[in-house]
């Protein structure tokens, strides 16, 4: 594709932003042309969000300058950015659930009938018209909280368009979307670009970036490491740029020697917080001495599955057996006693008490067991002793065992959780996103520990949205799609592309391949009655709860 060369809509030159101990952005240059979809690609913590916060006036750069249409500007804050035609769709939507679509869009940019009162009729007219122009009909009266995630994203985009944004920043817009919703949003973005809007698309998903972007800027550790055009690159090239070496981290996983089934799940059905069925009749077993990986796009029922298996959520029906014993519906405590260990996906919400000392966190799930308790009393000496041992064994970098867990880095926090959960007597291990947001060193360390546990004979269930991680560690791979386990493959023979296709479509035949590769015409409809979008159906699992986001180099507070 050839670009007509004009003055760039946005130019960021030499942007540097330092936080105590970290250089989040180190002399970043970024140029975005009018009508261009420009992807910003980078790992978690590479500095993408910091750069965009600077563009949006939420952070002030230490060095560097920004020019819009060739004119240097200083962006004082979000209102200033909006006034200059920059709008941002945040990864965690900035929408107010109890307000209507119209009110959400109007907020801050109100259409007034007179100096005091809003002109809702005029605003409604403009919103409906704007929606039509970009291919969707929307009811401005519906409360945002009752919309599906895909529609909420459209409201966010409408918010930007209502402000006549020329530069639209989308931060990880597809993280919470189903593949179908992703396609629909891409269609909207293409129309926007065709009308001359510039779009900055932040992502760490390679195939998406290749599909949607006109140009791709890759950043790593706060620096620009390359600029590419999709037609002249491929996933391997981008991945190498993004990670800085060959991404296929080779884990020496050796031979596995599976024996008897340890964790047996039969026709499990689980409802989500809103009462929709998120897991629809899933069956599998995990044998002692093997790793079963569950792959899937986030939000396809994995969270509910994990919560049901670990006792945090009561399943609607089906059974879970642990070592031959029916443990369906028992709480976390009983499962732990029965030999299950669980590394939760959100360590800040579940895995750790950030304000507590490290040593207390190291016994969080064993605090009432011997030797850490004697009767109803705590045994501080034993707890302290255990902490010293775990710190050495798991290489947790900390000044002492009594500092609060919140002061540790993400990697050391996760090592703390792993140290605790891997050290107990266990027969079954459930790992939910065990390396999300971690540095490569910690990832490698944890992967080695997982393999070691497998070789000791533990049955391991690994749930991860990172396909690479699942492929590397697992002996067998299951794929979750819309609440169902659509495939169970032997890892050594499974093709990565095949699994990816299953994740995206739930199928692997030629039709699915066609569906996944051709761009579909938009068949978007009004969200009837404010419920879910009909294109996704009413039984689509909702998005996972806001995940702990370790993105960006901002320091732990």
């Amino acid at each position: 594709m050839t670009q007509i060369v004009t003055a760039p809509a946005l130019e960021m030159r030499g942007i540097t932003k330092r936080y105590p101990g970290v250089v989040a952005n180190d002399g970043i240059d970024l140029e975005v042309r009018p009508g261009e979809i420009h992807a910003l690609l980078g790992e978690n913590g590479a500095g993408k969000s910091t750069l965009m916060n600077i563009l949006y006036g939420l952070a002030t750069p230490d060095e560097g300058e920004i020019a819009l249409d060739g004119n240097p500007v200083r962006i004082a804050g979000p209102s200033d950015a909006i006034a200059r035609g920059i709008s941002m769709v945040h990864q965690h939507f900035m929408l107010i659930p109890v307000l209507s679509v119209a009110d959400n869009i109007l907020l801050g940019e109100e259409t007034m009938a007179n100096p005091i009162f809003l002109d809702r009729n005029e605003a409604h007219r403009r919103i409906v018209e704007l929606g039509k122009r970009f291919g969707f009909e929307i009811d401005p009266e519906v409360k945002v909280g009752s919309l599906s995630v895909g529609w909420q994203q459209r409201v966010e985009i409408l918010k930007a368009l209502y402000r006549e944004a020329r530069i639209l920043v989308l931060d990880e817009p597809t993280a919470v979307l189903t593949p179908q919703e992703t396609k629909e949003i891409f269609e909207v973005l293409r129309r926007l670009a065709a009308e001359g809007h510039s779009i900055i698309f932040i992502s760490h998903k390679l195939y998406e970036v290749l599909e949607i972007a006109d140009r791709i800027t890759v950043i790593r550790r706060g620096k620009v490491v390359g600029e590419r055009v999709p037609s002249e690159t491929n996933e391997d090239d981008l991945a190498a740029l993004m990670v800085g070496r060959n991404v296929q981290l080779i884990v020496d996983r050796g031979e596995s020697h599976p024996t008897e089934p340890q964790l047996v799940v039969t026709d499990l059905r689980v409802a989500d917080d809103r009462g929709h069925q998120a897991v629809k009749g899933v069956s599998f077993d995990v044998r002692a001495g093997e790793i079963l990986g569950i792959a899937g796009v986030a939000g396809n029922g994995q969270d509910e599955l994990v919560e049901a298996l670990t006792g945090l959520r009561k399943p609607a029906s089906g059974t879970v057996e642990l070592g031959g014993r029916d443990v369906t519906g028992t709480g976390p405590r009983d499962l732990q006693k029965a030999g299950m260990s669980f590394v939760p996906g959100d360590r800040h919400r579940f895995g750790l008490i950030l304000s507590f000392p490290l040593e207390d966190n190291l016994v969080l799930t064993q605090y009432d067991e011997s030797p850490y308790s004697r009767g109803f009393l705590r045994n501080d000496a034993a707890i302290h002793e255990r902490a010293k041992q775990a710190i050495a064994e798991f290489d947790i970098r900390t000044p002492s065992a009594t500092v609060s867990a919140g002061t540790l880095s993400g990697g050391n926090q996760q090592k703390t959780v792993v140290a605790r959960e891997f050290s107990r007597k266990l027969t079954t291990l459930v790992l939910d996103q065990p390396t999300r947001g971690l540095d490569v060193g910690s990832i490698e360390f944890i992967h080695k520990q997982v393999i070691a546990k497998r070789d000791e004979g533990a049955a391991i269930l690994l749930v991860s949205a990172e396909l690479d991680e699942v492929m590397e560690l697992s002996d067998r791979v299951g794929v979750m799609y819309r609440g169902e386990l659509v495939a169970l493959l032997d890892a050594p023979t499974a093709e990565r592309e095949e699994v990816g296709l299953l994740m995206a479509t739930g199928r692997r035949d030629q039709a699915a391949l066609a569906e996944a590769t051709t761009s579909m015409t938009a068949d978007l409809h009004l969200a009837e009655g404010g419920a879910q979008s009909p294109t996704t159906g009413s039984d689509v699992p909702p998005p996972p709860p806001a995940a702990a986001n370790d993105d960006d180099g901002s320091p732990p507070s």
Binding site: G311, G351, I353
Partner: protein, 394 residues
């Protein structure tokens, strides 16, 4: 050395807060001196605080006999004994209401219901005491005190259960329960439990259930009951697994669930326990030698003072004991101040409110005075106020 630094870091903000409150109180005393003394008296705060100190401890550092102010340090042993006794008597209930708030903080709960729990504990103790008035003293006292604790615990159980099962926020529920307790008890005492004889409506004498005086005019068993709760609470919170569970649910309810704890059970248990402490406070006030019955018109500020005590004591049982002694001393010294310096005793309420104000403003104090100190607000307080706008906890 390390311990000394730690004590400094922990206590510097409370100390500054108390000093600032006394300073603002002094300004108020000066400003109002034309009304209280008939003329502007810049030295009035010194006289007032000296009288307060003497009333609380028996220590005098002024000689005002001949009208002029002269520094003269003296301790009258008899006066000191009397003063310290009344300080201890006043501090006892405050220790308990302080624990009623402080222990709640540990579980991420803000128990504003101390007032209501004191009243319910008081009426339970009074009625039980009247019922066992003829029994031997140890039996009667034990039953009456335990009844008070039970009453308070029941009144703490209500907001606990409502929060655990319906998500109703304990702050609003306990505020409502405070008023409710007052109205219900007034009605009951006036119409059902009133005895004939006294000129005002009150319940029957508790007879042998009155707390035995062990020293001085009114140094009674209640003081020991109250202060005995301090090591008990400390032990419970920091040394037992239950305490660890309480602290965990206060810091992070989701993680508590993950660790296999039951936040519902802990919420109900903790608020019942808070209610028990406040109920005990009501019991030792009502069963104390100066009452021995429940008067229909019974108002008390010790419930709300518990909030000041808990924060001043950094939600730590030992800190709470010191804070209660300080506030108890102020309350005990107030009558002397009113008599000797002609300062209305309500100034004490103002000063105690100001202490709480400065404690709440700790961020400002730290910035202005550049002191390095640990934050006063318990971490768990964030769990409390942030949950106000949400429906449910678990």
């Amino acid at each position: 050395m390390k311990l000394a630094r730690r004590i400094y870091a922990l206590s510097i903000i409370p100390i500054i807060s108390v000093l600032l409150a006394l300073l603002v109180g002094a300004i108020l005393i000066i400003v109002t001196s034309p009304a209280s003394q008939g003329e502007l008296d810049l030295l009035l705060p010194i006289k007032a605080y000296e009288a307060l100190l003497e009333g609380a401890t028996g220590i005098s550092f002024l000689n005002t006999d001949d009208g002029a102010l002269a520094f003269a340090f003296s301790i009258d042993p008899d006066r000191a004994a009397r003063a310290l006794t009344s300080t201890l008597v006043a501090a006892g209930p405050l220790v308990l209401t302080g624990l009623a708030v402080g222990v709640g903080f540990k579980a991420g709960l803000f128990n504003i219901g101390g007032t209501g729990q004191v009243l319910v504990g008081g009426i339970f103790a009074a009625l039980a005491g009247a019922a066992v008035a003829e029994q031997p003293v140890p039996v009667a006292v034990t039953i009456a005190v335990l009844a008070g604790a039970l009453g308070g615990a029941l009144y703490g159980f209500i907001p606990g259960a409502l929060k655990a099962f319906t998500g109703a926020h304990e702050v609003v529920v306990t505020i409502m329960l405070n008023s409710l307790a007052a109205f219900v008890i007034i009605g009951l005492v006036n119409d059902i439990f009133k005895i004939t004889g006294p000129t005002f409506a009150r319940t029957a004498d508790v007879g042998n259930a009155i707390l035995p005086v062990l020293f001085g005019r009114d140094g009674n068993v209640g003081i020991f009951i109250a202060f005995a709760m301090v090591p008990l609470a400390y032990f419970l919170i920091y040394r037992t697994t239950l305490g660890f569970e309480i602290r965990t649910v206060g810091a992070n309810p989701s993680a508590a669930r993950y660790a296999g704890m039951s936040p519902r059970r802990l919420i109900i248990l903790t608020l019942s326990m808070c209610g028990m402490f406040a109920g005990l406070a009501g019991a030792i006030v009502i069963l104390g030698p100066s009452l021995g019955y429940y008067p229909a018109v019974f108002g008390t500020t010790i419930g709300f003072a518990g909030i000041t005590v808990a924060l001043l004591g950094r939600s730590h049982p030992v800190g709470i004991a010191f804070a209660a002694l300080l506030l108890g001393g102020m309350n005990a010294g107030a009558p002397a101040m009113q008599i000797e310096a002609d300062i209305q005793r309500e100034i004490i309420d103002v000063i105690q409110g100001l202490i709480l104000l400065f404690l709440a403003m700790e961020v400002v104090i730290r910035r202005l005075l550049r002191v390095r100190a640990e934050s006063i607000a318990p971490e768990e307080l964030q769990t409390v106020s942030a949950s106000y706008g949400q429906g449910s906890t678990t």
